[in-house]
């Protein structure tokens, strides 16, 4: 098992506030690792510590089996938060500066990577005139320019339209398959993340609460019957008192998920109707990554 990135006990505090505490990460070669967390959970702080932008209070980081060094950054491409560019310079100039700073000698890689992200022919445009979505594409091109072995991407699809999101997903999968690139990505769009990752880590309140293979998560995710009702208080009373169902969740107002007696949905429906509850919808579903994330991090009513 070859680890590209490992962290042990990463902790960061500003003043009295603990931002990140004892975060242990393991990213294997060839992984697309989804790093998930709510706003303010500490994802960006962890990324910054991994990249040496922030000094951790304690803890260690290992890149490619060694302590991080200036040289190891040549094997890493990163995009943290809103991508920064020199606005008065052109697209080509910005990428050329990156190319030179990373020690890439051939300038043809610039056009090659602009084409890769669908920005062919835009080299002479000034960056300040680009939209947010185009800047995101440019940032992705920049992270790939020096052919890194590993990418760290913080919200890479932020600002992209649905087609751009899909193209980015396809590009990242292609990079993993064809260039054997390891990718660590964070995103709020859990549906998109779920389509490309093979491993996830969930951070909440600065602490790593779960880290597992996505296949294992899918295996664990439960099937349920989702019922939309007009009165969830009455409906839950009927479930408990008349049907003796204990394993259920009021997902949100008017939506109940029942995890047992899935083979008897007819009886479920009839009992609720007889009890005076209007059932507007009933369907058999499986838990998604989003469901799992919400369950772990809060937001579920019972």
């Amino acid at each position: 098992m070859k680890y590209v990135l490992r962290s042990n006990g990463l902790t960061k505090k500003y003043g009295d506030k603990m931002i990140v505490e004892d975060v242990n990460l393991e990213v294997e070669q060839g992984d697309i690792y989804g790093f998930l967390g709510q706003n303010g959970a500490g994802k960006t702080t962890v990324f910054r510590m991994l990249l040496g932008l922030i000094k951790p209070l304690r803890g260690t980081v290992e890149w490619f089996g060694e302590n991080p060094s200036t040289a190891s950054f040549n094997r890493i491409g990163s995009m943290i938060e809103t991508p920064g560019f020199y606005p008065n310079l052109t697209v080509w100039d910005n990428l050329d500066i990156h190319r030179r700073m990373c020690g890439v000698t051939d300038s043809f890689v610039i056009e090659e990577h602009l084409k890769l992200v669908g920005m062919e022919g835009m080299g002479k445009q000034k960056v300040k005139k680009l939209s947010l979505g185009t800047k995101q594409r440019l940032a992705i091109a920049r992270t790939l320019l020096h052919r890194p072995d590993c990418l760290i991407l913080d919200e890479p699809v932020n600002g992209l339209d649905p087609i751009g999101i899909r193209e980015t997903r396809e590009l990242l999968l292609e990079l993993r398959n064809k260039r054997s690139m390891t990718i660590m990505i964070s995103s709020h769009i859990l549906g998109e993340i779920g389509q490309m990752v093979n491993r996830i880590g969930i951070i909440h309140g600065g602490k790593m609460i779960e880290q597992l293979d996505y296949a294992e998560l899918q295996r664990r995710n439960r099937t349920y019957v989702e019922i939309r009702v007009d009165n969830d208080g009455k409906a839950t009373w009927i479930l408990e008192q008349q049907l003796h169902i204990k394993d259920y969740t009021v997902w949100e107002k008017g939506r109940i998920r029942v995890y047992e007696r899935l083979e008897d949905t007819g009886m479920l429906n009839k009992t609720l109707l007889d009890g005076g509850v209007i059932v507007s919808e009933m369907s058999l579903c499986s838990e998604t990554l989003e469901d799992h994330f919400v369950k772990l991090t809060g937001g579920v009513q019972k």
Binding site: I54, T70, F73, P83, C102
Partner: protein, 248 residues
């Protein structure tokens, strides 16, 4: 290192700071010449009463005083503040280049910009006075002028770390520029006296008064020590800030 220097040059070249530098380098000597022509001192310039050195030293000391300190503050702080404003520090400090190399490159490029400013300013003022007098400047005048310019330039370079550090601490251009304006006013008030010994930021102005017989008690050694000490201390703090600083 060469590539890093080239990248820093490219960033600064297309900036407002570069345009300001070029503009001032062209404007100051021309403005001075026009003022001198218009205040009826022109006859004095072309006679023996007002010699070459007097005109050139006056022009240079005024350009250093009126624009030099503020220009040093603007260029020094711009280089750092823009990286913050454009959110490019996240990228800059993740390159396979040591942070200190990046900072050193910025300081070197700022020094080179200042050198360019001083040379262009000097060249234009020399050309204008030669045109006015209708003759070549004597060689020994040029040599003296270059010695003064070199000394003034060294003192200007010694101030770069101070203004760079102020921009690092404040993350804006206002504090360094306001500081330079205050320095300028102080030199206006006390510069032509032995108080200049005790004004470490008066170094760039010093060479043009040192040769002035009417100003007594100036000590080159003292000014060298003070400017040197400020430069070393500021560089030390910059190194510490660079290595320890979190990029948030």
């Amino acid at each position: 290192m060469i590539e890093v220097l080239y990248c820093e040059w490219r960033k600064l070249r297309k900036s407002a700071a570069f345009i300001a530098t070029v503009g001032l380098a062209l404007l100051c000597p021309v403005l001075f010449f026009i003022i001198k022509m218009s205040d009826n001192n022109f006859e004095a310039i072309v006679t023996q009463d007002w010699n070459w050195a007097y005109y050139l030293d006056n022009e240079k000391s005024l350009s250093v005083l009126m624009a030099g300190l503020v220009l040093i503050a603007v260029i020094s702080s711009y280089s750092w503040v823009r990286e913050h404003g454009d959110n490019t520090l996240n990228v800059l400090f993740t390159y396979p280049v040591h942070r200190l190399t990046i900072i050193a490159s910025k300081l070197i490029i700022i020094a080179l910009f200042l050198l360019g400013y001083n040379l262009v300013d000097t060249l234009i003022s020399h050309m204008l006075i030669m045109l006015a007098k209708g003759e070549w400047i004597p060689g020994h005048i040029i040599v003296d002028n270059m010695i003064n310019l070199s000394l003034s330039y060294l003192f200007q370079v010694a101030l770069i770390p101070l203004f760079f550090l102020l921009s690092m601490i404040s993350k804006n251009i206002i504090l360094p520029v306001v500081t330079s304006i205050i320095f300028t006013f102080v030199i206006f008030a006390w510069g032509e006296s032995s108080y200049l010994n005790n004004l470490p930021f008066g170094g760039p102005f010093f060479p043009y008064l040192w040769y002035d017989d009417s100003v007594k008690g100036l000590s080159l050694t003292q000014v060298l020590w003070e400017n040197g000490a400020i430069m070393v201390v500021c560089l030390g703090v910059i190194v510490h800030q660079t290595l320890r600083r979190d990029v948030r």
